[in-house]
């Protein structure tokens, strides 16, 4: 198993480097430079030279690329040009929101999508099947930002003053601040140390943080704010997962081993759950892994609609504002996330299908 993981990780490295180089070169191709973006159109040449020197932009492009690669290997992502703060600090503040959003969306997509697909396959060629697939077809055609705005309108305006009204944006209600778990538990952390920053990062997952420290009112507030964006973001993956589950299960139900299982008198429930479902989950797991890109792309739109300061909006601002270090740093994180998720997908193959483990 270990050699399998090692091999998979090593294979991902060329793609990872490729992505970094492409992003680096693409950024350098954006018209206009960070200096005019930061100091304005009328910045003098001298001011720009000083600015470039301060930000390492006076080196030749390939030297910059080398420095960037070296820094990534040493976990140094540089400073944001626009905010004059370490990119790492921006990640600590922005990434947890997007992680929670994407995870919630994926959880909704899987817990609703897989059962829907099973239901449609079990009731094949009935009204239930048709309705489910019609719903799935509409779901994959849904513009995320449109659905988000409609949900916000429905739950914040039409259902206002009802028990099921939900906030239309933001991460927490105004004036609500969660206490980080390390403060709640009275830990003493050295300010600015790597360890302290790690805890700060973990505590910025508000739902997780308030859950483990039992700050229930704040926990519910965070969850209530998360529902609408997560549902909006989940719709397309949900529909895709439902469709794949249905077709995959339908195919498995026609196999000989299902007939054998029935012939030996197994209950229908057991036939589906133990024999058909497990064998039809492989394509489903693959699709779930592939949803990550869709979720990250959708996160830009969802975060814009719900006014959330996450990775997506930060990346969008950085690209349009020519904040090279931020884009480069965030890209590495996204690409690494891709590699890790796909690794998990491959590992789950081994769990679902013992034949793959053997090879």
């Amino acid at each position: 198993m270990l050699s399998f993981i090692t091999r998979r990780t090593l294979l991902a490295i060329p793609v990872l480097i490729g992505i970094m180089v492409v992003v680096f070169l693409l950024l350098r191709a954006i018209p206009g430079d960070p200096c005019t973006a930061m100091l304005g159109e009328r910045a003098t040449e001298e001011a720009c030279m000083r600015f470039d020197e301060a930000n390492g932009l006076d080196e030749p492009v390939f030297v910059q690329l080398g420095i960037y690669m070296k820094n990534v290997l040493t976990f140094n992502l540089g400073d944001s040009i626009r905010f004059s703060r370490p990119v790492m600090q921006l990640l600590i503040e922005r990434l947890p929101l997007t992680t929670e959003l994407a995870m919630s969306a994926l959880a909704i997509a899987v817990t609703v999508g897989v059962p829907l697909g099973i239901l449609a396959a079990r009731k094949h060629n009935t009204i239930v099947d048709t309705a489910t697939m019609a719903f799935a077809n509409v779901g994959v055609s849904m513009p995320v930002f449109w659905l988000g705005l409609l949900l916000a309108y429905l739950f914040a305006v039409i259902l206002k003053d009802t028990p099921i009204s939900l906030p239309p944006g933001g991460r927490l209600s105004a004036g609500v601040f969660p206490v980080p778990y390390y403060e709640a538990w009275g830990w003493t952390l050295t300010e600015g140390s790597t360890w302290a920053r790690f805890h700060e990062y973990v505590a910025n997952h508000y739902i997780f943080n308030t859950f483990i420290t039992a700050q229930w009112p704040i926990f519910w507030d965070a969850v209530r704010h998360m529902i609408l964006p997560a549902v909006a973001l989940a719709t397309i993956p949900l529909a895709i997962i439902a469709r794949i589950t249905r077709s995959s299960l339908l195919e498995a139900m026609n196999k000989d081993y299902i007939r054998t299982a029935r012939a030996k008198g197994a209950k229908e429930r057991r036939v589906v759950a133990r024999h058909a479902l497990r064998n039809s989950l492989l394509p489903v797991v693959t699709i779930i892994g592939l949803q990550l890109g869709l979720l990250l792309g959708g996160a830009v739109l969802t975060e814009t609609v719900f006014r959330l300061a996450g990775l997506g909006t930060a990346l969008f601002d950085a690209i349009t504002g020519r904040d090279y270090p931020v884009v480069q740093g965030f890209t590495v994180v996204i690409a690494a996330a891709y590699v890790v998720v796909n690794l998990f997908v491959d590992l789950s193959y081994g769990y679902l299908d013992p034949r793959i483990r053997q090879k």
Binding site: P143, W146, V300, F316, V327
Partner: protein, 320 residues
């Protein structure tokens, strides 16, 4: 249920006819069979209907739309900005001018703008897919046919493009090229190239090994002739399906880019940017967000259904 049975019977007959050519005097062509199978699929036909309707709307937009898309009605009619829909037959005051989807912030007729928006979205979807289809299948064909290091280089570049969330990559490319509808189109075309390249390459690799290609080679056909006359016609099927579904994705992504302000620019009547311009007023005038989004959804749905129907009709594995 009985229709289902008849359909099954028809399909069985078709299959046996295809096998032995016994039932029909003239052999039915593969395309005629495909067409017949496509017609038998309800969702595919619904998709085709939606797409056909949209094409008609786009072509005859000036006849259908009551106003030009960019006509500002201030001083011409008694309407204000962001007025709610007013349909006379539904009880709206007959004294007031009829705007069945209301007016937008600049006092333009929303319905007319949505009608004209069909032109923008369909053109965009068509051109994006055409570019991606040609570039992608060319690269895939070269990679598959030539093989070796060239194959490696091309496909690794495709991997890198695929290794990045497509909307984020499109955002980055639009930043390089500058915002605008044409550049959004190019960006989306670039991010969708790998899919076509992969499909084409896989097709070329499998067709390359067939006997009829070996025969052509023996007859002295050049590589170009074999690619154009032997490989391309055989690879067309999956590419057509991919292209139809690709139009849906392209329209959805372009709307996303426009929503972020990187695609179509005002005053062009494009659904994504119409929606984006009004997103802050969704709580007071939801109709200006609802209708453009609905238009996007219906269009994307149409192409998705049509693509799925085509795929099912063209898939020989489903012929049983």
């Amino acid at each position: 249920m009985s229709t289902n049975k008849t359909q099954k019977t028809v399909e069985l007959l078709e299959a046996s006819a295809q096998d032995a050519n016994l039932l029909t005097e003239q052999p039915t062509s593969q395309w005629a069979l495909t067409l017949r199978r496509f017609r038998g699929r309800r969702s595919g036909m619904i998709g085709l209907g939606i797409v056909a309707l949209l094409v008609i709307v786009a072509i005859f937009a000036p006849l259908i739309a009551p106003y030009p898309p960019n006509e500002v009605l201030i001083g011409k009619e008694d309407v204000g900005p962001r007025e709610k829909p007013c349909v006379h037959v539904l009880g709206c005051d007959p004294e007031k001018p009829q705007h069945i989807l209301g007016t937008d912030a600049n006092v333009r007729d929303e319905f007319s703008r949505i009608i004209y928006g069909a032109r923008v979205s369909l053109t965009l979807g068509f051109f994006t897919v055409t570019i991606a289809l040609f570039v992608g299948s060319f690269l895939g064909a070269v990679a598959g046919y030539v093989g070796g290091w060239l194959d490696n280089v091309i496909m690794r570049i495709m991997d890198v493009i695929l290794g990045f969330p497509s909307l984020l990559l499109a955002i980055a490319i639009v930043s390089v090229l500058g915002p605008g509808l044409r550049n959004a189109l190019i960006a989306i075309a670039i991010v969708s190239i790998p899919a076509y390249a992969r499909v084409m390459r896989a097709q070329v690799l499998s067709i390359k090994e067939t006997d009829f290609v070996a025969a052509s080679l023996a007859l002295g056909a050049s590589a170009r002739q074999i690619l154009i006359h032997r490989v391309v016609p055989n690879a067309l099927t999956p590419l057509v399906v991919l292209a139809t579904l690709g139009v849906a994705t392209a329209i959805l992504e372009a709307a996303g880019l426009s929503f972020l302000g990187l695609g179509a620019q005002p005053p062009l009547a494009e659904w994504g940017s119409m929606l984006a311009n009004e997103r802050h007023t969704v709580f007071t005038s939801p109709h200006l967000v609802f209708f453009p989004g609905l238009a996007i959804m219906i269009t994307v749905l149409g192409f998705n259904l049509m693509g799925d129907g085509l795929r099912d009709a063209l898939d020989p594995a489903l012929n049983k």
